[in-house]
Symmetry: D2
Subunit: 256 residues, 4 copies
Amino acid sequence: MPIRVTIWNEFVHEQTNEAVAKLYPGGIHGVVADMLAEQLGDDVQTHTATLDEPQHGLTEEVLDQTDVLTWWGHAAHDRVDDAIVDRVQRRVLQGMGLVCMHSAHASKIFQRMLGTSCMLRWREAAERERIWVVDPSHPIAEGIENEFFELPHTEMYGEFFDIPAPDELIFISWFEGGEVFRSGCVFRRGKGKVFYFRPGHETFPIYYDANVRRVLANGVRYVQPAGARFHGEGRNIPEPLEPIEAEHEVDQSLHE
Amino acid sequence: MPIRVTIWNEFVHEQTNEAVAKLYPGGIHGVVADMLAEQLGDDVQTHTATLDEPQHGLTEEVLDQTDVLTWWGHAAHDRVDDAIVDRVQRRVLQGMGLVCMHSAHASKIFQRMLGTSCMLRWREAAERERIWVVDPSHPIAEGIENEFFELPHTEMYGEFFDIPAPDELIFISWFEGGEVFRSGCVFRRGKGKVFYFRPGHETFPIYYDANVRRVLANGVRYVQPAGARFHGEGRNIPEPLEPIEAEHEVDQSLHE
Amino acid sequence: MPIRVTIWNEFVHEQTNEAVAKLYPGGIHGVVADMLAEQLGDDVQTHTATLDEPQHGLTEEVLDQTDVLTWWGHAAHDRVDDAIVDRVQRRVLQGMGLVCMHSAHASKIFQRMLGTSCMLRWREAAERERIWVVDPSHPIAEGIENEFFELPHTEMYGEFFDIPAPDELIFISWFEGGEVFRSGCVFRRGKGKVFYFRPGHETFPIYYDANVRRVLANGVRYVQPAGARFHGEGRNIPEPLEPIEAEHEVDQSLHE
Amino acid sequence: MPIRVTIWNEFVHEQTNEAVAKLYPGGIHGVVADMLAEQLGDDVQTHTATLDEPQHGLTEEVLDQTDVLTWWGHAAHDRVDDAIVDRVQRRVLQGMGLVCMHSAHASKIFQRMLGTSCMLRWREAAERERIWVVDPSHPIAEGIENEFFELPHTEMYGEFFDIPAPDELIFISWFEGGEVFRSGCVFRRGKGKVFYFRPGHETFPIYYDANVRRVLANGVRYVQPAGARFHGEGRNIPEPLEPIEAEHEVDQSLHE
């Protein structure tokens, strides 16, 4: 069965800026759909959703059909409705994968999942980035041929990156201008997994880079739902699994 | 300099239930203040705050004077104002320690810091709990004499406990009725640290137990502010630290 | 392509004890081969190796054909040649998966990979074990229907279990006699992954249990080689990737 | 009570190379002793030990009086006796702190504690290093004023650094020549803690740098013994803590 991916894009820059529109004529959601089709073939089935659709295109029905949600946002994070953020968070905790790309570090959903500000240093200077593999055992690094790969012109993101220590740290970036950054991170939350991948941009052609495409596809595959099948919601279990010595009375009136 | 601790208590049960009032005549905030004074002496200076005070007693001025905030809530989590939760979260990210006790697993602030539901199984059957040390190198276990300590009558909390994998897992509980639980966990978030400790109750005299008192005091000491002094807020760094080859033009109009 | 698994067994108890021989007539390596065939079908191809073979059956040629090595030992850990331990460690760091079963906690290879004593409490009292899932997002828990599964009669292993904090903690066991144990752990080392799974025994029929069989097969699948392709051995890189300002002389005589 | 630190130095380069002798006239052990005295004052009491002493100066008696052992080695790792490595490992598991400095990444004791090759890329080109704080909540970063500090001329160490994911990752280095490195790492092993800190060199005056001195002193303080007091050695516990239903017979003959 193919992985059902919903590709979310705020889809703002493509409509307001000529350079972005020229680079990504089908929108950033379009280039993501293309790369997943290229990399994963019949193993993936994509659907797109954007900010301006009702419920941002993320209705319960759409999420019922979603194994992995990818997220691109940059200029309009604050226009995302909190009720939709609640809904996506719930789905991730129930097992849906989430891939947050580049400037999605500042999205409401990423901040919600992590509990920190997710803020960082940044600079637009078209500088070189070299992405080093620090966990070569990780399936998300599958196919990377060397200790590193390079991107010639990027926006810099630098430490301190205010995130919890990742459960799995896969890539660390070197920047020409002097910074470092934890660029590839997995966070396990509830029954779901979140993959953050730094590279990406609206005017540098990052999403045409072969290594970036490979890593993002690996990430989609990695965060697809897996694991135990139980529900895991909190609940009272009045009947113990094992006998309990009856030597103490409990005032149940306190705990209805 | 003493650690300045603000002890927060929703202070509801003590005023509505006779058994609780009798067990903790000074309120749960009172017993926490007593235990910290007993354990830490002149190294600590405590202040209390409760739900019904203006801003729940957690004004900017109070937090300015707070190194560590301890949290007890049970019956009234939803009455805590979201604006105060925002404020406390910000303070933790800036370095204030947070100790969440027992039923504070379901508090808004704990859920906010962790990004998960923090839900669990529970049972009121006055059963035995045995708390095992799984990280004997940890300062929070300082002074525990044996591989475990016991509490004769407790409310059970059981897995699956919906939290991120703790950065530091110190205790795992065994319950007579058949469950296990990750009972002592540290989470590092921003410049702050959060300690969750399961034992505690409003009618079982858990907070008079010597080991529990010791661990909570260790926890307060452990999460006090420490570390680097920089601010760490996200910001643009237009001037690179190192020279960048000028071979690519950046359209700054996109990034004001 | 199938996963090529080498199933290693010290194969001592089966030849010296009638009860063990009766329970596992094909040896413990036999029951492991059967369970992997049952669970993974054409996705797996197994080979067995035992202590008494030359080089314990773990020649370079055999390891060249091994994606995952499973390890059972109990009575004869100290008869394993250190040179073979060196060899297996090297292979794991280069990407070979390793699954250590039950009493393999005290094997030389497990101690070598972890750097700790790997010691624990134990008891033979045929007690009940209940294995709780604490990471339901983990592929190794795939297919577990409930928050826990049970084994009616087991040897107890209890904390403190002297291992590094696992990179991924999946299961925690509850024991009837009062202990808890971190029963399912993944450790990433070099380009390889190590899965430790506690359940197992030479006289209790643990390896016929459906959940145990499922988890071990999941573990074999999980630790198969994956990730980046580079070699990763230490080496001098005299030519920098980026230009370095020449303002300081280096005395190379010190660093041949 | 002061922290009792034993400063170990292979003490080879200082005796064979004029530049090293001139930079560190009292040996590298001397500069470490000086910096700890400067930073920790009466809170520390130091002792030194070197390779050529009997038992490398690390007798049981010396280790009985040691809270923290610091390790410098570079040219003579293989001359360290395996029996002494066994002894030091045992002490760390029992609670002694260990600080491994710079080229001690390739020491037998570091490799032993971690179970990996600990290999890395390196280059002697006197390049600039910028050390970024990635965990500002960590006591080892105490007193660092900025997001980073710099060293003008260093030997480069680069990823992939073959270590297990650190339990606590505090610093990541940027190098002028294009690499990154996990430069400050804590590993908890048994009841002990190991701090690895990359900066250091025998001909660059790294150990006179104020930030380096501060961090090393913080590290010594951080890894001093703490935590639970139990012994934690593996052992049989024939008497259960809780009653076990007697419905199954155990053949004890297998388990003497």
